[in-house]
Amino acid sequence: MTHRARLSGSALLTLACACGGGDARPPVIAVAFPGLGEVALAVARDELAQWSVPVQLTYDSMVASTLADVEVDRAQRLVTIPGLVAVVGHGNSRGSLVAAPVYNEVGIPQVAPTSTSRRLASAGPWTFALPPNDSVEGAFIGDYVAGPLGARSTTIYFVNDEYGVGLRDGIRARLRRRGVAVLDEVSVDPQSDFATIVDASLRRGVPEVVVVAARTPETGAIARLMRARVPNIQVVAGDGALQMPALVTAAGAAAPALHVVGFWMPDAPDSLSRAFVERFRRIIGEEPLGTHAMVHDAIMVLAAAVREVGPRPAAIRRYLESLGRERAPYPGVTGAISFQPGRLANLVMMRLEGNRIVRVDPR
């Protein structure tokens, strides 16, 4: 990518908070979450306008990627922004992990809104993961497969990166504990010949449920192929697949067979969620997704840190570390936010109904 292209691709939406206005440059929080992050940022900007905290939000719109080099490059560029005090990102576990060393080197707090890799916990003192890790999510999926779906055998498809491998391990561990046979574990990537590998895997064994620890395109392709070959099969996917409406398109006719894990649902009854949904609808004109809420919460917890302890990155880091310990957890839309081990996990199983997603009744 040329320098010019990079600049044009990095159209920065700079939204200054109305309050404050001193001579000093306001602290900058960069949002490195392409796609959904832009929408979440707009909502957060609207909310921050009510605060008396001079925070600039900068959005990095460079295309989302699972390629490590793209994310490393993104991180190396972001840390050169003058006044940068924190980063929300990146868009997936692999991106967050490969970018973490860059932020840890320069001492900029990084809050990964949707990255579940347990390896983020050891990525460095400046890196914080908002959602529960892949062990927790894997256990949640395993319980769902063994419980509500009642499956006795599965095949796991996974992307061979930090997200897919981590989630696969978590699912495998819980399935074994629940006595569900794992017939095959198949590595995929976006360029895979899905038909071939699905057929080969089915030749090794036909599962009752397929679990996919991959992103939207891989999940959609596998769901379609499986549904075509095994008509009643159910496909359970991790949070990485929850890209709407892309998932609906990718799954096609197999959409009704899909069960997807998310971190939040807009039907959440608490007041913060209701306010967020209302604000989101007002500004964007759509129903928010769980990812929107997660990115929003990541932005807001960093803004709260700036409001509480000032714009020094070290102070922000200490603030994040203290949540749930010296300080009460931050009240986020997706739940009480802290970064302590063993914090409560807000996980929801969802299904596709037409173009929308609905909460699966746990019963």
Partner: protein, 635 residues
Amino acid sequence: MTPARHTLSLRALVVVILAVSAVHVTAIAVYLAAGLTRRVASLAVETAPVFDLFHQLHERAQALREAVQLTIEPLPRDSAARFARAADARRRVAELGERANAEYAAVPPRMRVPLARADDDLSRLQNILLEFAALMELDRVDEAGRREDLADSVMSNLALHLGQAQEEGIADLLFRERSLSDTAARAVKVLGWWSVSGLILLGAVVLLIRQRVQRPLIELEAGLREVARGEIHTQVPAHRADEMGRLAALFNETTRVLRERAQQQGRYAAAGELMAGVAHEVNNPLMAIASLAELRLADPGLSPDLRNELDQMRGQARRAAKLLSGLLRFVRPSEAQVGPVDLNAALTRALDLLAYRLPVEDVTVERALDAALPSVRCDGARIEQVFVNLLSNALDALRLVEPPRRLLVRTWTAGDRVYAAVSDNGPGVPDDVRRRLFIPFVSTKSEGTGLGLYVSRQIVREAAGELVYQPDGTRGATFLVRLPAAEVQAAAARPAPGPPPRPTPLAGLHLLVVDDEEAIRRVIALYLERRGARVATAVDGADALDRIAAAVPDLVLADLKMPGMSGTAMYQAIERDRPELVPRVMFLSGDLTQLAELGEGHGVPPERILAKPIDLAELESRILRVVGEDVKRQA
């Protein structure tokens, strides 16, 4: 002499030099630690992960290449064999594990992107192999063969990305190496300048020490050497107002005081010489008067009035002679003669010496002398000098107060110590003076030398004693002399009672009296002849030697100071020509210091040295003793 410049003191200078040296040395250490060491350490720390990562990726790439070779080429014709190959490929790929999940934090930022790409290439290659295996499982051999091109393409990409990472790594290493070289070169340059500055600093320190310490010390040493040679007019320059300058000033002040004292001592010595001469001249007539009176008193036919007058004449003459004798002892001390000394007698003699001041200054003397006081072992003349000093000081102090003025002298014993104290009811010694009482050249008297108490204490200490000021809480002052008691003399040492006195005890003795004073010579000869001796006389040493040559006497009684040949010259001639007569030569003189002419250790025992004036009976007794001892020795 130019006034001393006010500069930094030596102590401050030393502190400054030490501080500058410490900063200089510490700065080098800090520079090396912060600059060079840190860079070297970081090079080692940051380079290791690069190699580790390369190693990891290369191993994985190599394993995949092998897997590709094994899996793809050549494809077996037999489907069962292909299926087995597929299973083998799946197993090998599984063995390779997942993505390296490279620890990008540890590698230089420039390497991260190509390494990440290489990592992705490896994952893609892994999936291609799995697809290949899947195709063989599905017996789609032709399609599997086409995957070979895809694998090659990914392998090429992998090689490209690894190559890029390698280039970046090498560039990074070269950059670090250059950086390290630059740092080392800079360090060498800095250390060079630092060493030069250190040498300059050292030179400055040496120069400073030479100027501020060495030169003044050399000057001071030279000055001291001059003083040691007796050149007390020496002065040294005080360049600065620092410690060395103050030392030089003190040296100059010391030589000034020494000069003043020397002048004073010179005057005293001259006065002493004069007094000794006068005493000698006065002693002869005094002895003549006293002896004549004594001779006349021996006449039983004298009228009582005349006897009384003669007795008074003899008494006054003896008193005057005693005073002169004391003065002579005081101003012309002879060599130290240590022996048993009666402190009571020494105190009494000192009092006698100063007795002339007592009525004039209206001073009452109280004596509390222990009659059974044991003797002490010291130099009698010098201990007498101590008492004269103490008494003189007391009398000076008493002048400052109104009568009644009392002077108390006491002696006593306690254990094996003998004490003598001189007390007065004067104003006492102020506290500030008390601490400096025994320091030389410290005096509260306008014309005092400041040496009296210092010298007195030295004399007492030489006799293993101590002289202290002893405040008793009342008005006045008390000085205490404490000396160890001498061992009790054996009773046998005392002269045994002799036979009853004879009317002519000197009968049969041939005596030669040598004195230039005719009155002395005549009266002594007359007395000795009356006591039975045969007496010849001579007017000086040469005359005496002639007389000895004519007839050897049993004993020679000679004056010391005589015109012509002196008594000492005569003695030396007798020693040379008639050594057998030496033990029978006695001296009788008003100035016994003349004996010094015989040189140190002249060997004349004290019993053969008599001071004028002397009681004629005492003279007779001493003559008999000397002759008796020589007879005993010869026997």
